[in-house]
């Protein structure tokens, strides 16, 4: 543990705040590491720190390219926004800066956050630091890979159906999707507005709590943002006595045996720590992917209508206005974005609206009810984060449905809008496995506390990914 980048962000902040480390040296250390990153994690690296005073001790944060940062390329990893430098900064980024976390760089991602492997970026894939032939997950793949590889101390990403938790699991780090509305979406380039939520990707649970603490709260620029009911607590629990854990997903098809075994071992630790564990049923969760792939593309098809070559980004095509629109969108969007726009437009088109969109919204209600019922019996719902470990680059690009099923365990919580953390609990085939803990809306402090106790008991070692 001699290297600066082996410190957690909270440890680095504590050293800076105690006067043992200069924020400028810390920034420069990470800036150099980010610049020499060869995984494809970064689309842009800052030249200097924009703000270092505050409780976060000047520890720089890597920011997913989906967030607008004033004067800095913010392209959602899409060719259609090539060269776009917004005139304003996302609220989440602004708040972190104000708390003393300068922007380290913009991280690579699946274009418009649509994907589970980072292979849909308009600017090249990201490689998994545990095995460079494998994907880091997605869509926050650059954020996850940079934190795992130690080219960033911590990062923020966004999660619409698993885009923080799944890459965190595949890269062996912590990822938290907060309660819908906990963090402002202002300045976050929209994908599916009723599901999109910003959250931290970090080395450990304490770092996640610290970043979350400084991002939450109502923002008048996002009318769906909410007052967070308390200050987010830093976790300290070492025992889980009296807590009830409801496990779901150990009997689903398509879960790799190594993932199951690793998750079961971690669930055994929950009991050793004093928790009670029972299996529960979420009867409608298996319909989550189906409902999600109606709702998210439908919202996306509307949100992405704004990319028309008129106000920002690129313009292509000769001839009349319609030809310009169609050519700009044909050349600017990648294949997965086109697929989702088509799917969403189809689902919302005349004659199909009720059968698809209306039905999916009712399934969403049933899934949210499943969780409400579960939380009458248990404090937390526990599931594997991803059915598999990191897969090989190219393995699923020809089969969109197989790719979509990567999010089988993460989508239900997104549809219910509830907070969920993924923490690394071990290795299978030498690759990280993540376990999810979900709780009711605004239970982040309790989730973080329980995850902290489990993290200590598991003792996951991510140092290999930092080389």
């Amino acid at each position: 543990m001699s290297e600066l980048h082996d410190l957690t962000a909270a440890e680095a902040a504590a050293r800076v705040n105690a006067g043992e480390l200069s924020a400028a040296d810390l920034f420069e250390h990470y800036r150099k590491r980010a610049e020499s990153d060869d995984l494809g994690s970064f689309l842009w690296v800052a030249g200097e720190a924009d703000q270092t005073d505050g409780p976060l001790g000047g520890v720089p944060v890597a920011v997913k390219d989906l967030f607008c940062v004033e004067g800095v390329p913010s392209m959602a990893a899409s060719k259609i926004l090539e060269g776009y430098r917004p005139p304003y900064t996302a609220t989440a980024v602004r708040r972190l800066r104000a708390a003393g976390a300068p922007v380290l760089g913009k991280t690579n991602m699946d274009e418009f956050a649509m994907g589970s492997s980072n292979e849909n970026s308009g600017y090249g894939p990201v490689r998994n630091p545990w095995d460079r032939e494998r994907v880091p997950g997605g869509s926050s793949g650059g954020s996850a890979a940079s934190v795992a590889a130690g080219t960033a101390p911590w990062a923020i990403g966004t999660d619409t159906g698993g885009s923080i938790r799944q890459p965190a699991a595949l890269c062996g780090i912590v990822g938290l999707k907060p309660t819908y509305g906990a963090i402002s979406r202002y300045g976050m380039i929209a994908f599916a507005s009723s599901l999109d939520q910003c959250g931290p990707l970090t080395r450990d649970v304490t770092d996640a709590a610290l970043l979350l603490r400084h991002m939450v709260g109502r923002d008048e620029c996002d009318s769906t943002s909410l007052d967070y009911p308390e200050e987010v607590q830093l976790p300290s629990a070492e025992r889980l006595d009296g807590l009830r854990f409801g496990v779901w997903g150990l009997h689903e098809e398509g879960v790799e045996p190594g993932v199951l075994d690793t998750c079961k071992a971690a669930i055994g630790k929950l009991e050793e720590l004093g928790g009670t564990v029972e299996e529960i049923d979420l009867p409608h969760a298996k319909y989550g992917i189906s409902a999600y792939y109606v709702l998210a593309p439908a919202e996306a098809s509307a949100n992405l209508a704004r990319y028309d070559g008129v106000r920002f980004g690129i313009r292509r095509g000769d001839g009349d206005l319609t030809t310009m629109y169609e050519t700009t969108r044909a050349e600017g969007f990648g294949p997965e974005v086109k697929r989702r726009i088509m799917l969403g437009t189809y689902a919302l088109s005349s004659g199909y609206y009720d059968a698809y969109y209306g039905t999916a919204q009712r399934v969403r209600t049933k899934i949210a009810d499943d969780f409400r019922d579960a939380f009458k019996q248990v404090d937390f719902v526990v599931t594997p984060t991803s059915p598999t470990v990191a897969f090989k680059l190219g393995e699923r690009t020809k089969d969109p449905l197989a790719m979509y099923l990567s999010d089988y365990f993460t989508v239900p919580m997104s549809l219910a809008g509830i907070p969920t953390i993924s923490i690394p609990v071990g290795l299978s085939e030498n690759l990280p496995v993540g376990l999810q803990l979900a709780g009711p809306a605004f239970s982040e402090s309790r989730i973080l506390d329980a995850a902290h106790a489990l993290e200590k008991a598991v003792g996951f070692d991510g140092s290999r990914a930092r080389g």
Partner: protein
């Protein structure tokens, strides 16, 4: 399940120009995804209220007070083509 003509119709609605190869591929891929999605048809959802939003907030208001907006030049600078008064686009009927 979804044929070439439907793909072309939806592409037109979405203002996407697709190549012939994309049209063929889209028909196959969308059919596969829609086949999976149609599992939700198995459920009895009689009387279930739709959820469009998970957070129970409504009528979020702010003070009705004017405040500065973005300067016109700032926005026009971001556009691929503009004059000093607005965004420039090709004629709809060219």
């Amino acid at each position: 399940m979804i044929d070439r003509d439907q793909v072309l119709h939806v592409a037109r609605l979405a203002r996407l120009k697709l190549t012939d190869e994309e049209v063929e591929r889209m028909a196959v891929e969308l059919s596969a995804v829609l086949g999976h999605i149609e599992k939700i048809g198995e459920l009895d959802l009689e009387g279930v209220e739709p959820t469009s939003h998970v957070v129970p907030v409504e009528n979020v208001l702010r003070e009705d007070k004017p405040r500065p907006s973005w300067p016109r030049e700032t926005m026009l600078e971001l556009a691929p083509e503009s004059s000093n008064i607005g965004f420039e686009v090709p004629s709809p009927g060219a």
